[in-house]
């Protein structure tokens, strides 16, 4: 069940049998969620963190006029809110974009890990630092990149993050998100996303259709998105 999470951790550091066992033992239950369901609301105190096993989730913030900014996408193997362990309530919501399966890890069990497994604790700290690096990359996209650059960078990031957990190769990956989801990730409108996807296809970079991202030319796509994979800190890949 947590193999993708273990693969993600191992991409960034070594993991002992005892540490793996400690992670398994920290899980209190498994939950299934439908798509488009806010599972953690901003400002509400939580006593557990959510480990995404299957499906896609996102962190988002809304403006009063209904406009939504997705601030990070979560792929299988990610903790959606490891930071809630220290923050206790979140400054953003977390929702499912597709049907999802998740493992629930009570904060009490995470506290035990921090006390008994300092190396694993550092790996998790590392993980929240990588989340911050992803946020910085998205800031760069939202503030400075062109529509084409924003989408190219996003598809490159997902390609690598999904490859780490065995859900992508250099030819592409399944991405069951809507154009609205992509628009909310990139600060564009649906139609603008649609038009930019057409441009990317015509330029021979990537074809997005029917929930599949088919990469036509990975090197050129990375160039278009000015994608430098070092911000994902994949030391063991």
């Amino acid at each position: 069940m947590i193999e993708r999470h273990l693969a993600k951790l191992r991409a960034r550091g070594d993991l002992s049998q005892e540490e793996e066992q400690a992670i398994r033992a920290a899980i209190s239950e498994y939950r299934d969620y439908p798509a488009d369901c806010t599972i953690i609301a901003a400002g509400v105190e939580v006593d557990h963190s959510t480990l995404l096993l299957d499906g896609f989730m996102c962190r988002y913030k809304d403006l009063r006029n209904g406009q939504r900014q997705i601030t990070e996408l979560h792929v299988p193997g990610d903790f959606a809110d490891l930071h809630s362990f220290t923050l206790k309530y979140l400054d953003h919501d977390i929702m499912t974009l597709t049907p999802c399966r998740a493992a629930i890890v009570p904060h009490e069990n995470l506290r035990r890990i921090t006390e008994q497994f300092p190396h694993l604790t550092r790996l998790y700290w590392f993980g929240t630092n990588v989340d911050a690096a992803i946020h910085r990359e998205w800031e760069l996209s939202l503030g400075r990149r062109t529509a084409r650059g924003k989408l190219a960078a996003l598809f490159c990031e997902l390609q690598l993050r999904l490859q780490v957990v065995g859900l992508a190769d250099e030819q592409g990956y399944d991405l069951p998100l809507t154009q609205t989801d992509l628009a909310e990730c990139t600060g564009l409108t649906n139609v603008h996303v649609n038009r930019t996807l057409k441009e990317l296809r015509e330029a021979g970079l990537v074809e997005v259709q029917g929930g599949r991202v088919a990469i036509l030319n990975l090197a050129d796509l990375r160039r278009a998105g000015e994608f430098d994979p070092r911000y994902l800190y994949l030391r063991n890949v």
């Binding site: 062109t146 154009q179 139609v191 603008h192 649609n194 038009r195």
Partner: protein
Amino acid sequence: MARYFLHLSNSVGYLRDDEGIDVTNSDEAGRIAAQTIRSMLSEEVKQGRFDLRGRIEIADDHGNTVRTVPFHEAIQMFTDGPA
């Protein structure tokens, strides 16, 4: 909620919207069409180009065009007179 489709027609060609947006009514679809036009034009302006020859056709669930928003209706433009 109702689903509307925003089909784009401009100097580059025609781009069909197969996904659509869920909104309360056609007025809201019109507002989103205007936002969309502004978003696309602003990107073009940053590249030094401003082309108002285009429109968004808003179609309902049955494929009927309920409204057309020309690009120039989404912006106010001033070219003469004192600033």
